[in-house]
Amino acid sequence: MPCVSPDGKPTESGMAILAALDGGKTSPEDIAAETNRPLFRVRSGLRELLGAGLVSQSGESFALTEQGKAVL
């Protein structure tokens, strides 16, 4: 399911991914395991959250941005 709504706010799925990142998970695989969501949805969700400026990416690793921390 989409992780960012049209108004730019994270959806329930988006919030779950952000919470997993806040809990120290950094890879799509670890986030999928933590949130019990399919890996393909986590990958697409991270892409949306990246586009919304809520997460940052370094190689295969993801992290919350200041903006992402602010919505948690």
Partner: protein, 216 residues
């Protein structure tokens, strides 16, 4: 000219890397590469709100847990809009009591259909035929099925071929006609005369040197 253009579209073949795409789906925008590391079935249907397709969607939903158990994701596609997909999926749940758990690509641009060779003008110029692409975790196409518009697919065969390909990969075997899990598998043919003679003493069940079976 139109005919020449249709013929110029490359059709993916077995053993090819599946073509990458990014497409709107009922579960958000997805890319093929999002599925890397999992088996994936991409299947197309002619149109939403049509009778055979509705029975197929319910049947795919029924085998969805079996596919998940085998590590296989499922992704539908037709040349319809997201709105039509959402309305149809909701209708199936409301009228038939079946929840559709997998995403469906809205391929109004026909971009994905063209890449995968799902449009067969001899059947329809606007609707995708009933295709099934089984793609492995390395995103290589391992199986292609084409069914005509008039014929719904056989879910048992789809599960059977997933089992057969996964067994082939796991055990380095082939599977005979009508194989199903629990049956003996075929040992690949020997490549040298020496191995042909040796295999008769390796405990396989051999009819002759080129047709040996073993339990897996």
């Amino acid at each position: 000219m139109e005919e020449q253009m249709e013929q110029a579209v490359p059709m993916p073949r077995l053993g090819d890397k599946a073509p990458e795409f990014e497409a709107p789906t009922t579960h958000g925008t997805l890319r093929l590469s999002d599925f890397k590391g999992s088996w994936l079935i991409i299947f197309s249907h002619p149109a939403d709100f049509t009778p055979v397709c509705t029975t197929e969607f319910m049947a795919f939903a029924e085998i969805f847990p079996d596919l998940q158990q085998r590590g296989v994701e499922l992704l539908g596609l037709s040349v319809d809009s997201i709105t039509a997909h959402i309305a149809w999926v909701r209708n199936i749940e409301e009228k038939m009591g079946v929840k559709i758990p997998f995403p469906v690509i809205a391929d109004l641009s026909k971009e994905v259909s063209m890449k995968f060779g799902m449009l067969h003008p001899g059947q329809s110029k606007t609707e995708t035929v009933r295709t099934v692409y089984l793609i492995d975790p390395n995103q290589v196409i391992r199986l292609i099925l084409y069914y005509p518009l008039s014929t719904g697919r056989n879910m048992s065969e789809i599960l059977r071929v997933v089992d057969a390909l996964q067994a082939a990969d796991k055990y380095g075997v082939a599977t005979p006609a009508n194989w199903k899990p629990g049956d003996m598998a075929i040992v690949p043919p020997p490549q040298t005369q020496e191995s042909a003679e040796e295999r008769l003493n390796q405990g396989y069940e051999c009819v002759d040197w080129y047709l040996c079976r073993k339990k897996i």
